[in-house]
Subunit: 367 residues, 4 copies
Amino acid sequence: MAGSSWGTLLTMTTWGESHGKGLGVVVDGCPAGLPLCEEDIQKYLDRRKPGQSRFTTKRQEGDQAEILSGVFEGKTTGTPISILVRNMDQRSHDYNNIKDLYRPGHGDYTFDAKYGFRDYRGGGRSSGRETIGRVAAGAIGARLLECLGVTVAAYTRSIGPVEINMDHFNLERRFSNSLCMPDPQAAIRAQEYVEKVMAQGDSAGGVAECVISGLPAGVGEPVFEKLDARLAHGAMSIGAVKGVEIGDGFLAAGSLGSVNNDSFVTGENGRVDKASNHAGGILGGISDGSQIVVRAAFKPTPSISRPQKTVNRDGQEVETVIKGRHDPLVVPRAVVVLETMAAFTVADMLLVGMSSRLDRIQRFFNT
Amino acid sequence: MAGSSWGTLLTMTTWGESHGKGLGVVVDGCPAGLPLCEEDIQKYLDRRKPGQSRFTTKRQEGDQAEILSGVFEGKTTGTPISILVRNMDQRSHDYNNIKDLYRPGHGDYTFDAKYGFRDYRGGGRSSGRETIGRVAAGAIGARLLECLGVTVAAYTRSIGPVEINMDHFNLERRFSNSLCMPDPQAAIRAQEYVEKVMAQGDSAGGVAECVISGLPAGVGEPVFEKLDARLAHGAMSIGAVKGVEIGDGFLAAGSLGSVNNDSFVTGENGRVDKASNHAGGILGGISDGSQIVVRAAFKPTPSISRPQKTVNRDGQEVETVIKGRHDPLVVPRAVVVLETMAAFTVADMLLVGMSSRLDRIQRFFNT
Amino acid sequence: MAGSSWGTLLTMTTWGESHGKGLGVVVDGCPAGLPLCEEDIQKYLDRRKPGQSRFTTKRQEGDQAEILSGVFEGKTTGTPISILVRNMDQRSHDYNNIKDLYRPGHGDYTFDAKYGFRDYRGGGRSSGRETIGRVAAGAIGARLLECLGVTVAAYTRSIGPVEINMDHFNLERRFSNSLCMPDPQAAIRAQEYVEKVMAQGDSAGGVAECVISGLPAGVGEPVFEKLDARLAHGAMSIGAVKGVEIGDGFLAAGSLGSVNNDSFVTGENGRVDKASNHAGGILGGISDGSQIVVRAAFKPTPSISRPQKTVNRDGQEVETVIKGRHDPLVVPRAVVVLETMAAFTVADMLLVGMSSRLDRIQRFFNT
Amino acid sequence: MAGSSWGTLLTMTTWGESHGKGLGVVVDGCPAGLPLCEEDIQKYLDRRKPGQSRFTTKRQEGDQAEILSGVFEGKTTGTPISILVRNMDQRSHDYNNIKDLYRPGHGDYTFDAKYGFRDYRGGGRSSGRETIGRVAAGAIGARLLECLGVTVAAYTRSIGPVEINMDHFNLERRFSNSLCMPDPQAAIRAQEYVEKVMAQGDSAGGVAECVISGLPAGVGEPVFEKLDARLAHGAMSIGAVKGVEIGDGFLAAGSLGSVNNDSFVTGENGRVDKASNHAGGILGGISDGSQIVVRAAFKPTPSISRPQKTVNRDGQEVETVIKGRHDPLVVPRAVVVLETMAAFTVADMLLVGMSSRLDRIQRFFNT
């Protein structure tokens, strides 16, 4: 498949540019009978919408999702679900000055190298607005998981040097601050940090974390479509992500086998459980029934207001100052992108995994 | 596709278990006319072969690759290349005691949950021997890249707490020590560390790093098949990997935009170059012409000789001591796995990217 | 991939129902730099538009294509091209009487069996309007082929028992009659036949044929993605198609090797040519440089105005008379569907085939 | 995927050339717990084995299948099943004279055009021996279907001008004659025809038909992965096939809606049934619960002993007489290829279709 599709049985195909007519997605393979309305999608889109705090771009977009197909009488029909979000508040003239030069840290140069030219307005396809299609599709994945008893929740783990304290962790509080941190005290410190960075015309990075609960053991397709491999692929495909971890991630590399191994124990109702979860819920590329933990590192927003050195399309060195309206950090708005990408990925793999055992297939077909 | 295939135009399909008749791979879509012989593959397999130092399992396997198809008169024909490696030194009886229990940190439980039962001998398909197929296929990817001026090289970056010092970095020296470290002094300290860990019946983890040089700008397919996303997927699909980074990775999350942005500069012959490479050679999911840097964190080998607590297939808690022959750390042998997976992934994407521009396609067809 | 996507490097993902908000397609992987405007697509959509003759449904639809993304300053950018066609003239109340019963020859029953319920209005996703997305996408495929010197043309070969006479064949004349027959005399006889059938409240079938000229030898991917196999797949996926042939098709089964084999001869400029083309331009699943010929048999429209026996959702036998506005035969409007599906399929495979030889790849990369 | 893989959840990847070391296949995604042994595969391979009658090539091959992986204690494990068949009776010197010329009706020229050169021995990858991998994989598909109550059976429908008489149709009798005809009287006439053709140094074509019984309604993925579209793709990918039909096929094009529509009736236990089966068991691209009927037209074997005109690699016209051992007609041996390809394709789509409805998925996961 070309690069704008994701998934095996449950698939999304996204499209759209920052300053084109709109953005959207086609979700195919969604099981029939799922109750779905525009509000189910809108509530996720609203979480990534710009203009909601002083830490996000001031661009004003309603980002209203319109479902064009695949839903009849309030339920999905099993046919493709097309979702459209029209662009409203483009200010393309802001970008005339970057038309012929390459912003550092952006995809301008690589898009030109690959395609020969680019829609430079607002970054075109490489804009953060590209994630609208993912979030809309992922909302459907999350809705499907919800009907199967699986929940997915992401939040900000760190902003620059400020990390949440797990002793103060409170998932419900993540929406109590504009940085999406489930530790209100850390959020205050992080806000101070970001304000300082903003005052210097600079930008900050951070880490988002996503936990998936209620997923049964057995999901993931060794050896190349392991659950962790697909989650890593999905997370790394989000703009600005430079690292992905499952469970203890890089910390595990410095640990010992005797520490890092999670002992199996007898859990409730005699089920197999684990005494710890260094593995982040995945063993051998397959879910083990405990919580899945995936983490993504976001680099600082490349658009900063300080002057920067770069080259133009003719290869000459120039200095540039980036105009336009930009986020000083992407993590708070990216949290919902990570969450919905993970939800969609897991939903797809849950469906794929239904065919792993003959006895279950026979029961399915009553044979 | 089911889980044992990887790639879009250049694909590999691996098969085989630790204690079955053998392991192998079918590589499809390899361009015709590539000079290829068994030695081209063998030299990579030899780098992952067991029994080569005191830090690896004592299992003795020749791991001789036989090319069964797709090569004629010393060159690939464009048809599928099937490669077979027969298993020799299985000691399946070592595994009778784990038949009915779940080793901590292994895929035993999740395979049972997914498939209902498992080939428990030596870990079956979840054994490290599964990587034989990947390495053989990746050797072909590396051979193809070589003919296109691209080189790929991986090495050990850290073992437990011991990291290489970039001031002492010497890629050629990586083969001078059994830990594959391109810093001989660090290698000595790491060996001391591993010996201490082994003496305690424990195991160690580490980080492998891979650099890809000579790749032209323009490789990668936004938005889901970005080069970094596919490299992350490929790396995370290797057993024991818990984290993946591109360029500065998680460090970037704590950095500032003004620091993390790589300035573009005018390079040799007026080409676009970069003053630094925090990005690890990828911008917007597309190669930027500088060196690609990908890093993978490996957890400590889950097989340790200390007694561990676990449960059996009936869900009862038991204590187990793992027999069999195991590596106290996987990183030195995994280095070639990361290298070949990266080579194969990049080779595939290089082919996919050939169709990005009409003018180049027209030139290709002389139209 | 789920069922609404088609293609490997050049892909289309279609969506939409007969009486929903609209229909459309996302084309991904289209090379950058292709001159493209809405008129390029509209001219193909107009050929399948209803209400253009007395042989087609009286439903009035403008079927205006809107390009939402992927085109900038008149050229494709290499990013996904989203195309939207809004529905206008739905008369959904016509379908209330079929809500709970299964029309013979339609997908009503099978959609219910698969999905549990269906959007019954106008056949929902199984309506002929589903082809709007294919035609819009195929128009882009045809545009791309045009830039590479390849032309694709389809026409009606037979209607019921009336077949064109190859002695009177004139491709340019296919648009001179509403049945798309490249033999005006046969068209007159066919019109008489269709009028007789319509007078009896019945419907007719027919055969459409498509020829592809200018395709270089070497396109097609043995053994499962042979050019003929993909063309057959594409053609058979069009609603109402029950048979597909390449070259002489079923006639070849009754022929002799000495007759059916096309002798190779020395053609213009010493190129390899063929003395005949029983093979329809494909040998071993790969184009041979001569004209590709593909043929599709369309069954009679299942919607007829005569009373028919069937069962309802409760499994009870009932009699039904189908209301709504229907074509008495689909072939004339299906001709452009076959043409665009073939164009898209060939365009995709042309791109895929670029990586078949190392020497050409090296030349491409100047290595 | 590259061209040697087939399937979505249940996949096969075939490899091998006529005169290489062997041929084989990797089947991935086969559900765990399927009882499988080499004999299950061998009985299908034996049906396509050469040297079994005077109508087949005299090449002697044991074609013994060896299962290398994926089966443990008599059952599939859910991991890839690798099957190897070694070549034995190659006589490559027979082919030296075709090394530099293009046999009419063969893929020699197109392989050269695509790949630059070819393994000319015995046709290399374009040999009929390529089907060994398909048949071995399809045997597994058939085994899986058998466990789910679905049976697949193919036979010869016609040889040259001699067609079976459906009044004498007796499926069990298809193995009573070397032509695989389920009408012994027709078989006698067909044998006479073939002998006459052989005496003239010529070859014959024919039609094979396959029926699939017991498949539940609801299998097939509109709009591109319709069941008929995938069956057509699979059938057309078999060497020498030039046409494919579902149900009445091309006959339907000459029929009337009132005749071709199959009335729904109330069947046993109140189930929805059909009074006739012109549709061949597929409506809207989805199985309707009645028998699936697919038909494939095979061209006459291109290898004939008469002298033929052709060109050599230098483009010069030459006369050639084909040596080697060839079948005067491929249909009898191709019957099992069609049967196993259909079985594999249907088995894959049956698994894919399990995720079409939320209520069934919820029941599957007990949620």
